[in-house]
Structures are given as C-alpha cells and as structure tokens.
Symmetry: C2
Subunit: 187 residues, 2 copies
C-alpha cells in the first residue's frame, strides 16, 4: 500500500484524526470503530494496537499512563506536533481520481475529519476537487457503459449502480459545499 515510506495506512490516519482533539486510549478507539462501524474498519485489537505502536515509533503520537476508572489502567494517546503536521498534510491533500474511483471510503473518512483542518478553506478545496474528480469519473464510467453494450445484462446493471452512486455523491458534495459556504458567511 505504501508508495513512499512516509505513507501511512488509512487506519493510522483514522487514529490520528480521532485523537486529534480528544486524547483517547486504544480501548476507546476500538469502541469508536466497533460502535459506529466507521467506514467499515473493524477495530480489532490486532490492528489497532500495532497501528498505535507504529505511530508512537514514528513520533506522531505519545502515550501517557492514565488511571482513574475501574479495571486495568489504560494509556492515553495524544498527538505530538509531528503528528499534528502529518494529519494536516493528509487533510490538505488534493483529491485524486484514484481517491474517488478506488478509495471513496477512505476519502469520506478524510472528510469526516476536515473540521480539524487548520483552515476552513480546506473543506472548500476538498469539495471542489472532489466534485471535479467525481464528474470526470462519472463520464469515464458512462463511456465504459457505452463500450460494453454487448456485455451481460447484470454486468451492465452493476455498472449503472456504480454510476448512480457517483452521481449521488456528486450531488452530496455540491449541497454540502453550499451549506458550508452559508455557514461560513453568516458567522
């Protein structure tokens, strides 16, 4: 999955986003994944704890002991300045074609954290580039639909479902951008 060694997994970014404002323990992070079924991430301990250790090893998060509740005392993780920088860089990334075509879930996860961006402009940029790529991908898929006229009915119908869902997400992006605009202006 990693192209450059600086790349992190989606799960790692999710963790960074979740502890960005509220420090949390591994257990609390797991609960978030399990209860909200966030983007389909499973929150198995075998995924989360290793991911937290990778982040800690990279100096992006720091854990400190916490005792107070019942049961075994946990470790509470908070972002380091380096971690904050990595999170912000992630949030500021432009949306690519591959993001909308191959990793739409991860992209929406990123959007969910965009409120933590250093500037409200980030949301606008995100939505604008997302709309552009969605439009491009949409016509790409419609072209593909043309070229597979002879394909089995079910395959064509499945492709139509994909096209429809891209159109749906495009409508979402446009209305959300308008909503956020209004929110920003009336403030």
């Amino acid at each position: 999955m990693r192209k450059k060694s600086t790349e992190r997994t989606t799960l790692e970014y999710a963790l960074l986003g979740l502890i960005c404002e509220v420090p949390r323990s591994g257990y609390e992070l797991r609960k978030v994944f399990v209860e909200t079924a966030m983007a389909g991430y499973s929150g198995s301990p075998g995924a989360i704890y290793p991911a937290l250790r990778r982040l800690e090893a990279g100096g992006l998060v720091a854990g400190r002991a916490r005792h107070g509740g019942p049961g075994r005392p946990g470790r509470e993780f908070r972002l380091t300045p380096a971690g904050e920088a990595v999170l912000q860089a992630w949030l500021a990334r432009p949306v690519t074609r591959d993001d909308v075509a191959l990793r739409l879930d991860a992209l929406m996860l990123r959007f969910a954290f965009l409120g933590f961006a250093d500037s409200p402009v980030r949301s606008q940029e995100f939505l604008e580039s997302m709309e552009a790529e969605l439009e491009g991908f949409h016509t790409e898929l419609e072209d593909q639909l043309e070229t597979i006229r002879s394909a089995p009915v079910h395959a064509r119908l499945a492709l139509e479902a994909g096209i429809s869902s891209i159109a749906d997400r495009l409508r979402w992006a446009r209305t959300v951008r308008a909503r956020l605009n209004d929110l920003g202006e009336e403030k």
Copy 2:
C-alpha cells in the same frame, strides 16, 4: 479473512465468474481488471496468478496450454464441475447485513455475475434480500445520525453521504428488480 476453510477470497470468486462462460488466460483476466477497474480490484500479477494457482490446487479450475497468438503461449483456464458448483453456491448466497454494510463492492461484483446463475430466480432472491438489508441498514444509520447530534459537523455530513448512498442503492435495486421482472414475463 477466511472463516471456514471453504471460504474463498473475493478475487477468487471474481476469477471464477470471469472464466465461467469464456475460458481465459491469466493475462486476459488481468486486462479485464485493469481496463474496467472492476470493483476496484487491481489485477496485479502478484495477486492474480497466485489466486489462479489456489483455484487450480483446489480443483475449481483447470488450465490447458494455448498457443496461437504471438509471444509466449498462455494457459487457458476453464471451470471444472467443482468450480461451477462453488460459483453457483456463491451466487445463491443470501445477502447479509454485513454484505451491504461492509462489503457492498463485493456484493455488486456478485450481482454482476448473477446472469450465470442456474436459475433466473436467483436474481430475484438476491435483490429482495438486498433490499431488505439495505432498508435495515438505512434505518440503522439514521438512528446513528440521531445519536451523534453533538458530533463535529463534518462527521455528521460524512454519515449523511453514507445514508444517501444506501438510499440510492436501494432505489437501484427496486428498479432493477422491476426491470428484470418485466424482462422475464415478456419472454
């Protein structure tokens, strides 16, 4: 990923579906994935060839030499009776909540091959159970939206996108079921 040892990966089912009617070589299979970006599967040789060997080892496909074109002669894979049975069992599976919540892409891939099912009834069953699970998941997500009223705006908006896309897919399923019904009756 495997719960029972009889479970196959999504990629393996995709391969079974693709060679179900037309025997193909690994290279041709790769091209399908690359060109149509099927369900976001990458079609890297490091994934496809091992998957084909697993299927061959399991007796689900059989390869035979093919020479004729230019370049290195390829091996052409076709389904064995056992492979046909596994494919049919996959196509006949009822749609579960996890299918629509966590693996919608894989589910749509399955639909794309439903035309190869042993009975046209399979499509109806598939769509009916899919509609039921989509409805259930939809209300589940709307409940979740209620309970996170205090969450950050962006997170709520992301969830709304998910809800909308489920509704969109539900509309798709209903219209497709009607369309297939008409097609079946006029025949």
